[in-house]
């Protein structure tokens, strides 16, 4: 009642007044550009050179190393970011929409500037290819988790139990993989474990109308408890469970020879390729298929969905289980993809990061994947710069992605709209 009254009033009273201009994006971009541009170009000696090595993927061009003058490159990149910031001021002043690519370009320029600055004047060169391919692999569980979140939230169920689903998937995959000695069977079992957690989530959230966030948090505790208990009582005590099985790394013929991209994208673990497929399939089906339309209807307006004959709660249950399975598959990353035996709490909060990635990406698969890649990249940055021997206090390096995320959520992304009926039980 009150909401309609407000909109009615504002429509009637100020039809000719334009909405206030939001200066958030321009201000945020300018601040970031100044901060990073000035900070990085001042602290660099004039003759410093940054070495960057890229694997081209071709045998004849090999692995060229580029020697870039640090200061000049940083200034150029800062100028690119400044241009993006200027463009956003211009767009904002004309009340035009600022595309998502503007902050993305500025951000990418600043990240590269940071990297060049960090390796400036060092003997070793930055292994750009392994930085990116490692980042892609590290973001695998985040992407699976974020996609799981997308499915569940679009159907109207808040999935906070991604963490538990990852952990359950990791555990079952490792256990079955070790017993059978076959990582593929482990891989198949991972989504089953995730789906079981999804079943519980659906049971409590849809059937018993328990607050979705409560169920999610508590399921995380439950899975942590169960898997840790299993670890302490069984896995730790029998040698068979310490055997490691690993999914192979495939190099896709032809595709792996694409310059630069090939070595990053197509010399990966099998799970990464499965992720590519899942990403594409979900993106298409969620927005272009009958299943996706029905799913989203249940998350946006369950009453309307019910009215046209969609069984809201059944749709919710099935898709929550599906979402759990997707996250469970991502759990396989920790054990059979990484080639490790199961360890207590080995998902280490990645499920929560995946949740953050999903929200940062605006509840959309595409955005969620980009955000997850960002986190994966930040994770791997530490390794890559450690190899080069950069002495920034590691804590600040590790902190950076989280700070950037806060910055992005507060400044650039701002208020995003989740599916309208998420978290609400449908009692019709």
């Amino acid at each position: 009642m009150s909401a309609t009254a407000i909109t009615g009033l504002s429509l009637g009273g100020g039809a000719k007044t334009s909405a206030p201009i939001s200066w958030k994006v321009p201000i945020a971009l300018t601040a970031l550009t100044l901060l990073v541009g000035v900070g990085f170009s001042v602290g660099v000696g004039p003759g410093e050179v940054s070495h960057v090595t890229i694997e081209t993927g071709n045998s004849w061009s090999g692995r060229p190393t580029f020697d870039l003058p640090t200061r000049a490159s940083v200034i150029v990149l800062a100028l690119v970011a400044a241009l993006a910031a200027g463009y956003s001021w211009w767009r904002a002043s004309r009340r035009l929409k600022i595309g998502r690519w503007v902050p993305a370009v500025a951000g990418a320029a600043l990240v590269v500037a940071f990297l060049l600055w960090a390796v400036g004047g060092r003997e070793q060169s930055l292994q750009a290819t392994s930085l990116l391919s490692g980042a892609l692999f590290l973001s695998v569980p985040l992407i699976f988790g974020a996609l799981s979140g997308c499915i569940c939230e679009h159907v109207g169920v808040i999935n906070v139990s991604i963490e538990g689903q990852l952990l359950a998937g990791a555990c079952l995959a490792a256990v079955v993989g070790s017993i059978t000695g076959n990582p593929w069977i482990g891989l198949i079992c991972a989504p089953i474990a995730g789906a079981l957690v999804g079943c519980l989530l659906a049971l409590f959230a849809v059937r018993y109308w328990v607050d979705h966030i409560i169920v999610g948090v508590v399921l995380n505790v439950l899975v942590t408890g169960l898997t840790s208990y299993l670890f302490s009582t069984v896995l730790e005590r029998h040698a068979v469970f310490a055997t490691r099985v690993q999914l192979p790394r495939w190099e896709i013929p032809l595709l792996r020879d694409i310059p630069v991209l090939g070595p990053v994208l197509f010399r990966q673990n099998v799970l990464t390729y499965i992720m590519f497929v899942v990403v594409v399939v979900l993106q298409i089906f969620l927005f272009k298929s009958r299943w996706g339309l029905r799913l989203r209807a249940c998350g946006e307006h369950p009453k309307a969905a019910d009215t046209v004959g969609i069984k809201v709660n059944r749709t919710r249950v099935l898709n929550t289980i599906l979402g759990g399975a997707v996250a469970g598959l991502g759990g396989a990353y920790f054990t059979v993809a990484a080639g490790l035996a199961f360890g207590k709490e080995m998902s280490a909060g990645r499920g929560y990061i995946a949740l953050a990635a999903m929200i940062l990406g605006g509840w959309k698969p595409k955005g969620a994947i980009l955000a997850a890649l960002l986190f994966g990249f930040a994770d791997n940055l530490q390794n890559a710069l450690g190899v080069v021997g950069v002495e920034i206090p590691s804590q600040f390096m590790l902190m950076a992605p989280y700070l950037v995320t806060i910055f992005a959520v507060a400044g650039v992304v701002g208020r995003m709209r989740p599916p309208a009926a998420e978290g609400q039980a449908y009692k019709g």
Partner: protein
């Protein structure tokens, strides 16, 4: 409130009954939350018993010849479960084989020690939940409380009393500061508090890690990431010579304070109103932004106080990277189990503190790892949150279910009418 059956469509889990109708009250108690809570604990203990038994080597061995000599199996089963749960009880409540009164009650004081940080942080999270904010940031807020509290504790040398007060205030301010950030970001930019608090948890952990590498925060002459020892003048005085200390009194006082704030003060009303319906609160002239910021500041401050029970007790006096443990996350479950109410949070904190204290003894004296405690805790919270499930398990009368059935039949009737 009417005596007739409630209308089927209003089958909300918690009917708001405000009248003083004693028959209705009696009926509510019979199928109300007390009974379901007890039954939830029973179910959790049964599930726990199954897990304990399944992992026990003796039970496994005797299960091998179950059909030859079932007596062995059941004896082993009973002994295992009884041993574990008896250790759990004796570790959490009273030590039955103690020689002195102090030893007899020592487990209880341990329980209180484990419960205090959970109560503080749980109270803070509870305020957030009632304001509709899902604050996962207690962990970071505890860390910041610990940084402030610890620094005051070891760097300033003050007289007894003043020192303690400043340390406690420092913990509150540190946590409040770390809670203020997501609060102001949510209020001013709409930044989702779930993301921001998750991120701030990690930032706080790394920041503490960095601080502990600095000279100012490190023990002189040591390269370990440990701070100097906190002055004895900053310690909470012990209660009656036991291990329990003034921190527990403070926690209970904080619970009363939170109750007054939420139920009796204007700010509390604003917080609840915003939590119930932000749009309506805005229309009514309440400041949603103000309530959001205040909620997060208070939540952070209370979580920060959780650090005091770690730092200002006599058993742990150094700031280290593990100072917050997992209290921030455990407290989420505590606040949820306590239904975000102060009294409930204290009770839930004591329950979880007891399970933890008992769990350590159980792990030490029997074959059962402490991880089973997590299972017990989560099952209890899940079942208490879903009374219909408990009622279904025990075949208790369930108005909700009857309401749902009636609604379903009405819908079916409508549908057949429409198709006819």
């Amino acid at each position: 409130m009417s005596q007739t059956a409630p209308p089927p469509t209003a089958g909300a889990p918690s009917p708001q009954t405000q009248g003083r109708d004693w028959r209705a009250v009696a009926r509510r108690v019979a199928q109300g939350s007390a009974v379901t809570s007890v039954l939830a604990v029973v179910v959790a203990l049964v599930l726990g018993a199954i897990l304990i038994a399944a992992a026990n080597s003796q039970v496994q061995a005797t299960a091998g010849y179950l059909f030859a000599r079932p007596g062995d199996f059941f004896a082993a089963l009973g002994r295992t479960i009884a041993d574990s749960y008896s250790a759990l009880f004796q570790g959490a409540v009273v030590n039955l084989s103690a020689s002195s009164a102090g030893d007899f009650l020592r487990p209880l004081t341990n329980t209180i020690g484990h419960a205090v940080p959970l109560i503080f942080a749980g109270l803070g999270l509870g305020i957030g939940f009632r304001a509709g904010l899902f604050n996962i940031g207690a962990q970071g807020q505890i860390i910041f409380g610990a940084i402030f509290c610890g620094y005051i504790g070891f760097a300033w040398h003050l007289p007894v009393g003043v020192h303690l007060v400043l340390c406690v205030l420092g913990a509150f301010v540190g946590g409040a500061l770390w809670g203020f950030i997501p609060g102001i970001l949510k209020a001013k930019t709409g930044a989702n508090e779930v993301i921001v608090t998750i991120m701030l948890n990690s930032v706080a952990a790394f920041f503490l890690g960095w601080l502990l590498t600095r000279e100012a925060f490190r023990k002189p002459g040591s390269s370990d990431p440990l701070s100097p020892t906190l002055d004895a003048s900053a310690h909470y005085p012990s209660l009656f010579g036991t291990r329990a200390n003034l921190g527990f009194v403070l926690a209970v006082a904080a619970a009363i304070g939170v109750w007054w704030l939420m139920e009796r003060s204007t700010l509390g009303f604003a917080i609840r109103a915003v939590g119930a319906n932000p749009a309506a609160a805005q229309t009514a002239g309440l400041s949603v932004a103000g309530a959001t910021v205040w909620t997060m500041v208070l939540a952070g401050g209370l979580a920060g106080l959780a650090a005091t029970s770690q730092l200002l007790s006599t058993s742990a006096q150094q700031l280290n990277s593990d100072v917050a443990g997992t209290f921030g996350f455990d407290a989420i479950t505590v606040a949820l189990l306590g239904r975000s109410k102060p009294l409930g949070t204290v009770a839930a904190g004591l329950l979880f503190g007891g399970l933890k204290a008992g769990g350590y003894l159980m792990q030490a004296s029997t074959d059962t790892p402490i991880d089973v405690i997590l299972v017990l805790q989560s099952v209890v919270v899940l079942l208490i949150a879903a009374p219909p499930l408990v009622k279904a398990i025990f075949h208790l009368p369930d108005e909700d279910r009857q309401a749902r059935k009636a609604a379903k039949q009405a819908r079916l009737a409508l549908r057949t009418e429409a198709t006819a």
